[in-house]
Amino acid sequence: MALAEAKQSATEARLAAMSLPEGGCLAAARQAALSRVQTLGLPGRRDEYWKYTRPDKLTSAEVSKAAVFASDEEPMFSEFDRLKIVFVDGVYNAEASDDLSLEGVQIDRIADICCQDIHWAKDLYGVLEARGQSPVARPLAALNTAFAQDGVAIHVTGKPSKPINLVYVHSDEASDAILHHVIRVEAGAEATILENGPAASRFNKCMEIDIADTGKLHLVRAQGRDHERRAATHLFARLGSESVFKSFTLTVNGILTRNEAVVEILGGDAIAHIAGACVGDGEFHHDDTVFITHDAVNCESRQVFKKVLRNGATGVFQGKILVKEGAQKTDGYQISQSLLLDDDSQFLAKPELEIYADDVICSHGSTTGAIDEEALFYLRSRGVPAHEATDLLTLAFLAEAVEEVEDQSIADAIVARLEGWLARRR
């Protein structure tokens, strides 16, 4: 079917200024992704999947300028022993990065792979993204696959002794960054990936994760505190049997953030947890769009998303659990909740279940509410000042999502950031 005229011209306008980077062994994947973009067209305001979030600023040919945020805090995860890989405005920075060699893992730059004729990443780059285009189109991810010039390919073959930290730095107020990472976790291997930092004025990031049977991957990312960021991120994960994938995202501030997670469970007894906590104040729009497909028996998936919104901030949750025929004994859980700290903020939620197997447990819930007045009075009656009591209750609200972070010291670091955010708003 031909695209609507408006969509066609918007897509052409965006593509006009772009050219495919050198491809090497990734050339075919890029070319195929480009034709996906052309066929699908970029997201428009009338697309059902973009009903709650306006995609204009993410798709426009021109990038809106964004002030470089000067933080008074140490960058997130600084206190941890980690292997640091730094990208400035979407470009790998060798000087700021650590040496990429670490036992149990092989790390290569996508920009280098593009010059090679053969590399393992070619069997993953764009592959999960292409699979993820059905049943719902994700054209911004295809755009990413086609045009990303940088990123890393991480091949986890053992159990690296420390987390790999992708650090994003924003330095140019007109930067428009596209990054694409691919991660392959081999059988029995296990790694933790951390991501943090304001990446660019506009950021399009795609991460494809392929976890072999019995592999484990923990992903913890922190977005923020830059206010003027516009970001679209995609996470595509494919899980083999008895594998584990746990992802947690902390989002603080940001004019527009859309985080999509597309998880396909193909092997039995696998576990996928996708969680997020976000806090927004004023000009803030945060969208979590999650699609988990169960295509194997006896697997567990959890979606836990909590949003704290104030001063007219908007939170969006679109979450789906699809249980395919034969995916018996599936245990699917989904919760999305918002805490509105005033009457001006809003939370829009679209939870979906689609189940074709008859022996499964799937539950979902979505709530939106204010601070519990009873609890607030109880705390105050014990001498806790109102603002402190409100903060305590707000953190308590976010706790279920933060608990999804397995490493306690990382969870503590996240709570500390949330405390800081709340304290600055007293």
Partner: protein, 251 residues
């Protein structure tokens, strides 16, 4: 200690007068009990003194050691020494009991210009006090009142009282939902806190609790006023004859 004069209170949202000229003085070191039939205004009195929203004071005053309570925020009243043991202690998922208590203790100390309690000192104190109330370590770690039995919740209230060392303790139907053994335990906790510098206001339906927490003075609250005041024998009279007889006598 606590001085209430001609207190008139109505509900904020509706035109319903609940307290209609209540006078009451609780001296330091004394235990006063307030008994009364349903709807007489007992719980309203406890909430108005602790500063809960939803009530409007239309006349009268309430002071603690000379300080006007009614103008203060709930946390300011707490720092002055008001403590309300709730009839229905609130469950707060996600907030650990220990964190809650430590925040409360230190908030009050800070408000009074005292030094905050160190983590070690706090831990030492709370462990000792919890042990006396047969509150195990697990209960301290769990979220505030979540999954606690009725008795555990009330014991937790008394533990908070013990940690906060208030000047004026108000117990709102602390006996409700307790079996005899739990009531004894709670009463022992309260009795351990009886002190020359501390006043108690024990609100209850039944005389039962007063067997364990012996009051110095007993008041009967009806129709928003104290209608009769006497010694412990007044509670027994209620137990034997019900409120009807006393109300008929004073009307």
């Amino acid at each position: 200690m606590l001085e209430i004069k001609n207190l008139h209170v109505k509900l904020e949202d509706e035109d319903k007068q609940i307290l209609k000229g209540l006078d009451l003085t609780v001296e330091a070191g004394k235990v006063h009990a307030i008994m009364g039939p349903n709807g007489s205004g007992k719980s309203t009195l406890s909430y108005v003194l602790s500063g809960r929203d939803g009530y409007e004071v239309t006349d009268g005053s309430a002071t603690l050691a000379g300080e006007d309570l009614l103008e203060l925020e709930p946390e300011e009243r707490a720092a002055l020494g008001v403590f309300l043991a709730f009839q229905y202690p609130v469950e707060i998922p996600g907030v650990g009991n220990m964190t809650f208590l430590r925040t409360a203790v230190n908030s009050q100390r800070k408000a009074r210009g005292e030094e905050e309690l160190s983590a070690a000192d706090f831990l030492k104190t709370i462990r000792a006090k919890a042990k006396e109330l047969k509150i195990d370590a697990d209960m301290l770690k769990r979220p505030v009142n979540v999954g606690f039995s009725g008795g555990e919740k009330k014991r937790n209230e008394i533990l908070q009282m013990a940690m906060l060392e208030p000047k004026m303790c108000i117990l709102d139907e602390t006996d409700s939902g307790l079996d005899v053994d739990a009531m004894k335990l709670v009463a022992e906790g309260v009795n351990a806190l009886r002190d020359e510098g501390r006043g108690f206001l024990v609100i209850t339906h039944y005389q039962r609790l007063l067997d364990h927490i012996k009051p110095d003075v007993v008041h009967i609250l009806a129709g928003g006023k104290i209608v009769k005041t006497g010694g412990p024998e007044l509670a027994l009279e209620v137990e034997n004859n019900g409120y009807a007889g006393i109300l008929a006598e004073v009307s």
